[in-house]
């Protein structure tokens, strides 16, 4: 499912949560949506899911515009603040299953085992992480063409997070679909996502494939003079001086003829994210 957001704006009082955001989430791709707290990630995801009906702009699913206030049929939204019925998880799965003809029972069983989820205990007796597991299992089992996760791993321990990532990829292999994951665990999602979108203060700061990021984001370390010369005309997102040496973080095309005194290294997605959205701190 292709999801197009056209000029989406949303205000909360005088605060602009989203400011003319235009972005296309292509069919059958996994997206990582990154941004600082208050960047507008949840608002954007909730607008796409039909959870927030008051906004400006358009959301289009496979060329069909989302009717204001309606919820798109093939989009499943998972958030960390979930309210479930106080029933055992098995009953909740049964209820959800009735509404989804493409429900994958085999996947549900696999996921229950992988998460080691006790499906007989009522929700009230489950931890927050386990409650999120229930929603995650429903989302991945229901056969929706698009799944949106808003901070899905916030309540998980590292082991469960790994299992979640494995399950996500397993579900994607079984049925490729559009998946958007909003998270603060930047480097963890970089293993899953094909494209990374960074939101900053309600605007799209970056929308690139992981491949593009890997070729464009790097550091140069060397004598300050050589670095100054090498970075001329490049998009420098951070620079630090250590004695006679300078470390510059670049987000631009790679230079071919670089002085042998300069060492070039790729940077992690997390470092890139910090330098991009925290750029104003250094300027």
């Amino acid at each position: 499912m292709t999801i197009e957001c056209k000029e989406i704006s949303k205000n909360y009082g005088n605060t602009k949560a989203l400011n003319k955001v235009s972005i296309t989430f292509e069919d059958r791709k996994i997206y990582g949506l990154l941004g600082r707290n208050g960047a507008g990630k949840t608002t954007l995801l909730k607008i796409i899911s039909g959870m927030i009906p008051q906004y400006k702009g358009k959301v289009v699913f496979n060329s069909l515009e989302l009717v204001r206030g309606a919820m798109p049929g093939d989009v499943f939204f998972v958030e960390d603040k979930i309210r479930h019925f106080n029933k055992p998880a098995s009953e909740l799965f049964e209820i959800a299953e009735r509404f989804y003809p493409e429900w994958d029972c085999e996947f549900t069983e696999t996921a229950i085992k992988a998460f080691d989820l006790d499906v007989t205990r009522p929700v009230r007796k489950l931890s927050l992480g386990m409650k999120t597991m229930i929603s995650t299992i429903i989302a991945l089992s229901c056969g929706s063409d698009a799944i949106i996760f808003d901070e899905p791993v916030l309540t998980y321990d590292p082991l469960v997070r790994e299992r979640f990532y494995e399950l996500l990829l397993y579900a994607y292999d079984k049925k490729p679909r559009t998946i958007i994951i909003s998270t603060h665990l930047v480097d963890e999602v970089s293993k899953l996502c094909e494209r990374i979108v960074i939101l900053e203060k309600g605007r799209i700061r970056m929308d690139l494939s992981l491949e593009e990021i890997n070729t464009k984001a790097y550091t140069m370390l060397g004598p300050a003079g050589d670095i100054e010369e090498a970075i001329t005309g490049l998009n420098v997102i951070n620079s630090e001086v250590h004695g006679n040496y300078k470390l510059a973080t670049i987000f631009d095309k790679k230079q071919k003829d670089i002085s042998p005194n300069i060492s070039v290294e790729q940077i992690s997605l997390q470092k890139l994210f910090i330098h991009l959205v925290g750029a104003d701190k250094h300027e």
Partner: protein, 227 residues
């Protein structure tokens, strides 16, 4: 339609608390009736057990929008399915309640016979048997649908300005029209048209119009609801 029916079935399965509460009141009323039948109290009254079942209609119209709506959305159910399924839930409930009330009316009137105490049943109060059993069913059905939709509308809209305005208007109409005679008469005429209308067709027509307006308003509020 399939998903709406599934939604309706789900609502009924979930609505155990309204059912248990209603059955408790029904049980208490039955005990009261047994005592009444045995003591033959001349100055006492007996409320029909069938009427107590109407409590279920009131309770599910409160529980579904206030307690189940958000939780159903968390399970991936869409607003449209919720609205359609809930409407179907109310229709089915209205049919069942109307039938229950008629059956219990016949049982109770046979048991009470010509005993001296007062037997109270809304079917008598509103004179809903004036057009026979089918008429009684239709009078009740439309009234229960209207009642559930009204409560549902107030409950679903309670978290927004529009909902508060509706509630305020409803309260104002009742409180202002009660002490002022011309308004009281107008309000009484309105209620008569909806509840005591000797013309079955007109009563059904008025109720359907009002219910449709309320259903559209409910749909509007559901659509505008931020989650």
């Amino acid at each position: 339609m399939n998903k709406s029916l599934t939604m309706a079935k789900t609502n009924f399965k979930l609505a155990k608390t309204p059912l248990v509460l209603t059955l408790l009141f029904v049980g208490a009323n039955l005990i009261n009736q047994i005592i009444m039948l045995n003591i033959d109290g001349v100055d006492s009254g007996m409320v029909s057990t069938g009427n107590i079942f109407i409590l279920y209609a009131i309770l599910i119209a409160l529980f579904i929008p206030l307690s189940y709506f958000r939780r159903l959305i968390s399970l991936g159910i869409k607003k449209k399915i919720f609205f359609r399924g809930t409407t179907l839930t109310y229709i089915i409930t209205a049919v069942i309640l109307a039938i229950i009330n008629i059956i219990i009316y016949y049982i109770e009137t046979a048991i009470v016979g010509d005993r001296p105490f007062l037997y109270m049943n809304i079917l008598n109060v509103f004179n809903w048997f004036q057009h026979g059993v089918i008429g009684c069913f239709l009078y009740q059905f439309t009234f229960y649908i209207l009642l559930m939709n009204f409560i549902n509308l107030l409950a679903i809209s309670n978290d927004g300005l529009g909902g508060w305005i509706i509630s305020a208007v409803a309260v104002t109409i009742i409180s202002v029209s009660t002490p002022i005679k011309p308004l009281r008469n107008a309000f009484a005429a309105f209620l008569q048209a909806l509840l005591f209308n000797p013309n079955l067709f007109l009563q059904i027509l008025y109720t359907i119009i009002l219910t449709t307006i309320m259903a559209y308003a409910t749909r509007y509020f559901i659509r505008r609801k931020s989650l």
